[in-house]
């Protein structure tokens, strides 16, 4: 009995990539990794990422986008559907077109960041100007930069 269990643990370790992040330990499934052929703007070497749910907060809408090429790079992202923010039809069409993903498979995500005002008040913003459009079925993703000047890299949520 004990032997069987040990064997199972070893198999799990082969199938999963484990990362230590500021959010806690996350596991990525190798067969679900996303290919960012263009990298992320400013991180052109980061071409493979995995998505993990938040390790410490149950049911958090925030997912961790962990880079496989560089273990120190990870982003907190959120599915656009879990925010009240919505793109215009035109912006959405541009996002889909630039990403090269088919509209039925496209999932749009925003990179989050924390801002601290001069008074020390913290707020969380989403980069709606440069969303990540991904296709989980074909395991490809891209960060696209939208033309609309009204879209902010720091949309307060």
């Amino acid at each position: 009995m004990a032997e069987v269990q040990i064997e199972k643990v070893m198999i799990d370790n082969e199938d999963k990539l484990i990362y230590q992040t500021p959010y806690g330990e996350i596991e990525l499934q190798e067969d679900k990794l996303l290919s960012f052929s263009d990298g992320i703007v400013g991180f052109s070497n980061c071409t493979v990422f995995g998505l993990a749910s938040h390790p410490a907060v149950k049911n958090s809408p925030i997912l961790i986008l962990q880079c496989v090429n560089d273990a120190t790079v990870n982003f907190a992202v959120v599915d656009s559907k879990s925010l009240s923010f919505e793109y215009s039809a035109e912006d959405m069409a541009e996002a889909i077109k630039s990403s090269g993903v088919s509209s039925k498979d496209a999932i749009v995500m925003f990179i989050l960041r924390t801002n601290e005002s001069d008074e020390g008040a913290k707020s969380i913003t989403a980069n709606v100007k440069a969303p990540i459009v991904l296709d989980a079925t074909n395991k490809v993703a891209k960060q696209v930069i939208l033309n609309n000047r009204d879209l902010s890299t720091q949309y307060e949520i």
Partner: protein, 87 residues
């Protein structure tokens, strides 16, 4: 840096797949046309830097703020935030 003088309508070519043409000159402003394959991304530099800077400062997201965010989002949006992958 390579510096080349060009008149309106003249162009430069980079490798086989990038052509930059001076399409209009008006006072201190120059309009450039860039012809290239889709794999080359062309951005105004200030926009590129803005996105790069936004990405770089997003790497250091403070996880301790996530609890607050959850509450905030539930308040502003009634839709379910449960997604595949969460329990």
């Amino acid at each position: 840096m390579l510096v080349v003088s060009r008149k309106k309508g003249e162009a430069i070519v980079i490798n086989d797949d990038i052509e930059i043409i001076v399409s209009e000159i008006k006072g201190s402003q120059v309009k450039l046309g860039v012809q290239t394959s889709k794999k080359n991304k062309v951005y105004r530099k200030e926009l590129y830097l803005k996105i790069k800077q936004a990405n770089e400062s997003s790497v250091n997201f403070d996880p301790s703020d996530i609890g607050d965010l959850k509450v905030k989002m539930e308040k502003t949006d009634g839709r379910s935030t449960n997604r595949e992958g969460n329990d």
